[in-house]
């Protein structure tokens, strides 16, 4: 099912930002610097296992549970 990557990115931003737009935009920059550009993924994006694994690791580093 496509779109898993976008869902994971949205969850990371939502969990960490807790409704703050400023923190959300900072998290987005952090993700870009870590090699994941949120703007490149939509609900139609295929579920690339390498990116999914990277996001899992990244969520763990951020102390989040997806």
């Amino acid at each position: 099912m496509p779109g898993k990557i976008k869902d994971m990115i949205d969850t990371i931003i939502e969990q960490r930002a807790q409704g703050s737009h400023i923190i959300a935009s900072t998290i987005k920059i952090k993700l870009i610097l870590k090699g994941i550009n949120p703007d490149k993924y939509t609900s139609e994006s295929p579920d690339n296992i390498n990116v999914i694994n990277k996001l899992d690791k990244l969520a763990e580093e951020l102390g989040l549970k997806l």
Binding site: I23, T26, I29
Partner: protein, 370 residues
Amino acid sequence: MNVITAYSNQENLDEITQDLKQQIGEFDAKMVLFFASSTFDPDQTAAQMQTAFQNIPVFGCTTAGEIVTGKMLKNSIVAMAFNANIIEDIDIQIVENISNGETEGVDHAFAKFKQHFNQEVLTMDINQYVGIILIDGLSGAEERIMDRVGDLTNLLFVGGSAGDDLKFEKTYVYANGKAYSDAALLALMKPKVKFDILKTQSFCELDKKLIATKVNESERTIIEFNNKPATVAYAEAVGCSVEDAANNFMLNPVGLMVGDEPYVRSPQQIQDQNIVFYCNVLEDTELSLLKAQDMIADTKQALENKQKEMGSISVIINFHCILRTLELEAKNLMEDYGQIFADIPTIGLSTYGESYIGHINQTATMLVFN
């Protein structure tokens, strides 16, 4: 007056620290931040600066040039004393052995912050707390340290990589009366006034994309752009010969674009057909070729915009890339640049890289206070 700015370029360290102490006088300082030329003995610098200001946090680092209200200096020490009306609380932690590839020291520093402020750093209000990071500019560890800092907090840590006046031998951060190499200094502050970050890089994006298709991340080296040898692809994008590519590095770096804003990655040198950068680039990262703009006009405009946004700015800490300083020197614009900050108490340094969310190059990244 909530800060006092001082500088000295006397002959020796004894005279300098006495001079700075005299200029700051009886001001009731809560903390002193200083930036010192690497020409002074590091251990003596740390010890004498702490002795001069006794029982308050005194911290800083070595530089590749100093900045103080209205001036860009060399072979000096610049200092800024802050009182309790501007800095309510501060805790400073040193992370040592940062080039060993580990980041546990950052976690340890954050545990200490929690103890000091009696609050989890992750839950601190981004409008009430801000951090300064000063880091060994020759450690190659900036990305890893900033990445971990960003994992552990939503607060902004801004700062720069310590310099050594372009000798590229050893850089130091200073705190607790000591000089530390291979270390990062993390200062978490609770200001009493509004603050913000101003980052400007004086570049515009060109319509030329370079995708880092093969990299050596730990060596900060790009082996291939767009599946071609890095130098070949870069030269094609710039429109110059491979032989001439390095001559374009300063005015045509590349940027990782976040919306319209570049996070600049500056090429340093060519090795074989690879390009070594001043910060790392991850594989598959899409970069845009950038073109230098008028640095004086751009910085003035950026400062004016921030002043309008905040109402006013009363204090600036400027982390200014050495590559910008070298460009200003080459164009004989050092005095003009210093004058941009003539009316606002300012302290700063020429860095070996700036820290803002990540490790970046060729910016002026400033912590500004209302």
